[in-house]
Amino acid sequence: MKSWFQSKSINTPSPVGAVLSYLMLGVWAFLILFPLYWLVITSFKISSQVAEGPFYIPFVDFKPTLDAWKYILVGDLSKDTLRNFGNTIIVAPVSALLALIFGATAAYALVRFEYRPRVGAILTFIGCVGLSIVIITLGVPWQIALAVSAAIFFILLQTIGRRFKRELGNNDIAFWMISQRMLPPVAVVIPIYILFQRLHLLDTYTALIITYVTSNLPIVIWLMRDYISTIPIELEECASIDGASRYRIFWSIVLPLAIPGLVATFLFVLVFTWNEYLLALFLSSAKVQTLPLTIAAQNATRGPQWWNMSVLILIMIVPVIVIAIILERYITRGLLIGAVKG
């Protein structure tokens, strides 16, 4: 009797605990899967079957058809869908990977180095950016305006900027970075649109990727900062004593040990970029449209085309699920600890 409540090892629950765990996991799994099940059966319905009330089980309640799937994959919409699918497949992983690379290095730097940007220098910089914007709006070509403000910036930096000695720390830098995500996309989308219009980059992969990388960098940095700070510093000290350079330490010690965190973070950023809607709406017009736009477009004048939407949503999840299944095993009890004995 007692053994029912006793766990065999630290990480293995007792039999009763295991049953309770499965029960709770099962309930949540049901709550997750039921809406998805509804999505799947809706994708096999036609409009009258949706309109006439709830039908639950295919072949019993209603006769499933492949109409919506045909419409999306081989019919009228197939050209758009496949092109946008291809765009999403290019843009999302590339952005996620770049954000991960830059973000992880920056996170490492924020954990292990000490930076002291000076308030004076920052204020001078902001002033000069403001100045250049004013000059540009007055009608001066932007190349000249930028050159002038850069010159003024360096002059001021060497003179006035040095007088304000107050310094900020790493936490202030990190907070500045995360604060870049605070403005809602609705507010920043018009300036970004104008920016890329001036650079003649609208409707290109470059514009989308640049925007996605920058908008996701803060998240990568904040998540990776926590993972990296849990890596014992002694390992790096030992490597350093053995003569390894900073880059070597980062590449061969920090990165391998941070793999669980890297994988989890990559997954998020991939998901965020994969599903991003508003920025894509503005920055792409025809060539580089992504799939979320196709989904939103199914809310036509005749009302939402639920069956088409369901198909598109399902098509969109599949690749991410595949990647998640492949990567999931890396998010596992890390290399730091070694094998767990049962």
Binding site: G17, P35, P184, V186, A264, I317, I331
Partner: protein, 400 residues
Amino acid sequence: MNILPQGPTRIGLGLEPTSYQIMNTEPEESQPSRFNGAISTLIDRLAGSVFIMPTVLALLFLSIFPLIGSLYVSLAKFDIAKGGYKLTFVGLGNYKKLFVGSEGDHFLGKFAPSTPLTWVVFGLVVIALAVFLARYLLSVKVSTGGLIGRVLLTLGSGMLTWMLVHTLWNGGRLGTASVTLVYVFVGIFFQYTLGLSLAMLTVQNLPGRRFFRVIFLLPMMITPVGVAYMFRMLTDTSKGPFTPIWESLGLINFSWVNNAWGARTAILIGDIWQWTPFMFIVLVAALESQPIEPIEAATVDGANSWQIFRYITWPAILPVTMTLMLIRLIEAFKIVDLPNVMTNGGPGTATQSLTYHAYINWRALNIGGSAAVAYMLLFLVTFFAMIFVNLIRQRTVETL
């Protein structure tokens, strides 16, 4: 102590690291002298800058301009003119409209007259804030920055309380600002508790846990627009899957869309469904990378599972928890797809969030008003993020 000379050699923005000592939470233990023979080459000296500069430049490139640009737009009136658009500077006009003008009801809510109850609640909060300030003033380490921060916090919380007590009951109506706060705090609370419980369950050595993990990740992978449409299907009282339940409750003709709190609850359920996986997966990774030895030692010493959680696991996942909360805090303030698709912001304006408010203004070509709402949102997020980072995060992480 430092390997690089400080001061005169510094150039540029000051983003070069001034000291190469590896940072450590306990300064007395960090002995950079161990590094003596290590860092010699110039390229290695630049490592600190090389690591962080790409990020800083990228953020500067794509953040300063939109930030200043939309600030200017929020101070202007946008008109379609011949061959494009025209911006007329109107000063704080757009903001004034939000607080005392035509959009006041929409943004702040409809204020009900004060009653004894509102005075009691408001009074209690004011007393609590006064105690908080007094305790800080009587403490040993009072600094100007800390004092200013706390005074701002007190004023801000006081005003928010005043707004909430007058709009929550007695026929008051919540404005978009309060609705957003409801979404953010209720949503984060449930997402975190659910995410943590599920993460604790799936790090146990159970057969099939990897299956559950992948299942639990699914909601996050659906595009937010898709989730919103899916929940609109599910919550439909006459064609959705729960129709028999509504019927048996006699609610078939009662549309939750007509009930303000019903509609908000539906949106919150959608939000919790979608974002619990985010909390879940980060917490799983955090729990997995936690060293096993302290737990083994504690078990040998006879600690029970609550004690192990409270004194070993919780401190270990606290930093990640704080980061998660901050990220979700910032992201949750931007909720827009669910209210837009599920309820169109209705009934009335009951489910509109601030971003949705900005979006409506923007759709009506009131670009200036839209940017002003967005900036108010920025102030709100900054306010809560500052409180979070400066008071809660530092305190909890530092006291470990």
